[in-house]
Structures are given as C-alpha cells and as structure tokens.
C-alpha cells in the first residue's frame, strides 16, 4: 500500500494533548510554535496545518 499523506511532526504548546507516533516539538509560547512550524515546514517540505491554537501538525501531501 502506498501511503500518500503522513504526519511528519507535531508542534504544540500543550504536551498534555499529544502522545506517541510522530516527532513532537513542545514549545513554550505561540510565537515559538509559529517559528518552529515555519522552519519545519520549509525543511520537511510539508504543510503546517492548525488543529487548534496550541497544536500544529506538519503533513506531507
């Protein structure tokens, strides 16, 4: 089976909400989270999607 989409990493300010699976980056502030997500987006060639204000995922499409 060919997996077309995959969560490459998770960026969050609330580590209570996430566990397991993809690499998780825990940040202290929203600004830090935005920065990390912007960098990871460029590095991983994925798109950052916001699931909530405190949780971003980078998805490869």
């Amino acid at each position: 089976m060919n997996i077309e989409k995959a969560i490459l990493s998770v960026i969050t300010t609330n580590n209570q909400k996430i566990t397991g699976g993809a690499p998780i980056f825990v940040c202290d502030t929203k600004e830090e989270m935005d920065n990390v997500a912007a960098n990871l987006e460029a590095i991983l060639d994925g798109i950052s999607h916001a699931l909530s204000d405190e949780l971003y995922i980078i998805v490869k499409h």
Binding site: D34, A37, A38, E41, A42, D45, G46, I47, S48, H49, A50, Y56, I57, H61
Partner: protein, 298 residues
Amino acid sequence: MNEYTLPILFGVIIGTLARSIMLKTDYRQYPTYLHGKVIHLALGFIAAGLGAVAVPAIMEKEFTAITFLTIAASQFREVRNMERNTLSELDSYELVPRGNTYIEGIAVAFESRNYLVIFTSLLTTAFYLIWNIWASLGVTVICYLIIRKFMSGSTLGEIVDITYKGIHFEGAGLYIDNIYIMNIGLPQRQKEIEKYGMGFILTPKNFDVRSTIANLGQRQAILHDVSVTMGVFRDSGTPALVPLIKRDLDDGRIGVFILPQDKDIDKAKRVIGAVPVLENAIRMPSESKANRKGSESK
C-alpha cells in the same frame, strides 16, 4: 515525370501546409519552438506523402498498396505515445502540473491531426486525378474549413459563469465564498495567501457541465493554464502555496483558488474562460437513456 507526379506533389504540399496550419504554438509553448516543430512538420510531410500516394496506387490496380495505410496508423499511434511520454516526464518539473487528462488530450490531438493530413492529401490528389486542379483547390478549401472546425474545441467560458469572490479565513480554514479550500496553520502563510491569493467561483450553466468541471483533470488544466498565463506565487519547498480547486457538493459549483503574480481580476476571468474543455472530461448525463425515459414518464 509521369501523369501522377503533379497530383502527388500537389497533395503532399497541401497536406504539409495543412499540418503547419494545425501546428500553432500558442501560450502553452508546445510543441516547443523549432525542434519540436521540425519533428511534427516532418511527420506531417510523411503523412501527406502516404495520403497522396494511395490514390494513384488504387488507379494502377495495386490494391495491396492500401495496406501501407495501416502502417501509417501504427506509426501515428507511436506519435501519441511519444507525446504522452515526453509530457508526463516534464510534468513533474512544472510548478503547477498539467495533469494526465490534459496531457492525454494533447497527445490525442497530435495523433488525430496526422490523420487529418492523410485525408486532406488523399482527397486533394484524388480530385486532381479524377477532375482537375480547380476541383482539387475547391476540396482544399473544404478541408481547410473542416480542419478549422476540428481545431476549435469549446472553452470553459461557454459552459460556466465566472464570478470573482475574495478569499477569507475562518480560523485556519481557507474559504472562497462557502467552499472550503484547505487548512493553513502558520499566520505568516495566511498573510501571504491573503495578499496574493484570488478566488473565483465557477457556476455550471446546466447539469451536464457539473460532472465536466468536477473532473479532477479538468480542474488541474484550469490551474495549469491560469498559472502559466498569470504567473504563480510559488516555489519548490513551499507546498503550502498551492493553487487548488474544490467543489461545493450541494450545487456542483467549484471554487478556484489561485496565486497569480499579476492580480488583474478581468484578465483572470478571461484566462479561466479561455481554458479548453478537455475532450476526456466531457460528460453528457442528459444523453443517458435512463434520463430520457424519466422525462417521458412525467
């Protein structure tokens, strides 16, 4: 020189001319200038030769000679494969790909145009031999009109209404009117998209059109043509900046989200209106027998 030389020469010249008329390099820049054109002019010349020689062969009672037309057919099927392979290879290097449906449409056009050349030179040579050069010229004009008819497919502007709608964000969701396009997480990206993005709603004019514009290949063709003509705010490594088309499931409208470098609304409308309707995307649910029976029983 014998009695067939002039008619054959005439047929070959008209056939080659017909191919060069059909070989217009427009905004798509395909076939590529010069080299690509030389290939197709040469193939057009061969096709014209085959068509022109067929008639004298029959007149000389060389009926088996007609079988070489079948060789021509397989030869030109190769042309279609060649075009398909080249374009598919190149497609992965496009910022906004053409999509397979568009490529197939182009490849089919290349093959069919060679057959048109064969018919043109066959008819002109036949008319020259049976009557005279004037009859042959007459049939040339008719062939020209037929070729023009084949070259002009319908465009999107004829089957949909195009309206400009701004884009807006609801949370991380990007919307055109009420059509959800995608989720953009980063505030920085959202700002870029608000700055450069444009949204258009295409409303189908009738029920048949709904399935045509829902076709993913047709949608990709719209995005490709708009990106080629209007430029695209995108680079490799910025997957978030991607033009997209999504569909409103309720009424079949589609929302076109583009990132042009030239933000001219009227021009964008004209460009979308001029996108060819792909042969392979056309569906005619109204022609279905089930549909007709339904209308009888009412």
